[in-house]
Homo-oligomer: 223 residues x 2
């Protein structure tokens, strides 16, 4: 039986997964240090360990990518994180801006039985409170097509399906201006100078959104 990952190792694996885009872009030492709020020297050490454990592929000075077993571990952690976020919002009445920090702790609880029962208790949700897809017990994620609101042009429309970032300040702001998942949105005007746009939100009227915000909002085609 292979020994289970330490909390720190889990956080590295998750960070590598989340920084790395598809397909396999090599994740740099500095990017990891940044993401994990640690120093490059520390990352270099940990990378050697994870590489030795065959969780990542590593060539000196070339960055890392997850191996198959590394990806599997990452997906398990992300699954737990997102299921717990659903629990916190749907059953404990937390707001979507309050759950990420707590889920950062809960995602490390080790018990596959617990995760699967939690999944059932929650009704096998497919997305978390921020619109992120929840991997199933086999690590499969199904992810509908979507694009950033910042990439849409005049008269394009769709449904708000996610936010890319879980910064509480962003989420609270979106709450305040009534931008929520599931709402229909239509771009009415794009300002070429600063990329700010005007949108019509469901039946709540029109509003202006800065590029800082539109670059964090995911829209799906309104089929």
């Amino acid at each position: 039986m292979k020994k289970s990952l330490s909390l720190t190792e889990e956080n590295y694996i998750k960070a590598i997964f989340q920084i790395g885009t598809t397909p396999e872009s090599n994740v740099s030492t500095n990017a990891l240090a940044d993401n994990l709020q640690t120093k490059p020297a520390t990352v270099s050490d940990m990378i050697k360990k994870l590489s030795h454990k065959k969780l990542i592929f590593y060539e000196k000075y070339k960055g890392v990518t997850l191996s198959a077993s590394g990806s599997k571990e990452a997906l398990k952690i992300i699954r737990k994180h997102r299921l717990w976020e659903v629990f916190l919002v749907n059953h404990l009445n937390f707001k979507w801006d309050q759950v990420h920090e707590i889920a950062e702790q809960l995602e490390h609880i080790k018990s596959s039985e617990l995760v699967n029962r939690l999944d059932d208790f929650l009704g096998n949700p497919t997305i978390d409170p921020h619109g992120d897809p929840i991997p199933d017990a086999n690590g499969q994620v199904q992810l509908g097509p979507s694009k950033l609101l910042s990439e849409m042009t005049s008269h394009e429309n769709g449904i708000i399906v996610g936010v890319k970032n879980e910064d509480p300040l962003l989420l609270q702001h979106l709450d305040k201006i009534n931008v929520r998942l599931g709402l229909h949105i239509e771009v009415t005007e794009v300002n070429d100078f600063d990329q700010s746009i005007q949108v019509k939100l469901a039946d709540l009227g029109t509003m202006f959104l800065s590029e800082k915000i539109t670059s964090q909002i995911l829209i799906a085609k309104n089929l």
Copy 2:
């Protein structure tokens, strides 16, 4: 703001609380080493640290007792442990013999907001699945009078209100012989030789119970 306790420190504080009886019996180094599955030398070191942090009172070679702040911390951890056990049994359909290990992890999740919301979600339970009282948000526990089944004499009767031990093998055995919390029990005979007793359980008829079992079962007066 005082830095929060490490997972290890929390486990020491909890162990000291649970070993120490009322009033303040000094908890020995060996008892702690035993309970925490570690070595006396390790305990000696940690004791110095906890003493320095004023969580325990310590005199060399004399054992330790919790300070007021130490007790407060212990009660917070125990509250979390027991609330999570209620969640696991009542909402995720775990059996009472399956929850202790998982609760050992969940009890270290740090968020008072989470604990209090969980408490409300569960309906502010006063006991956990093993009959142990759950401290409230202020650390208050209310504990009805009870005695061990092993201390009862012929014709005494009462209600089964708790088990002292969470060993899965004990709990599974109690399940198998239909010994559950809330049942009425009457001692029909005590065997002086081996302290085994015969009992009448609710309307399930009579059975024999060894001292090993009766010494783990708590009975309250049937008022």
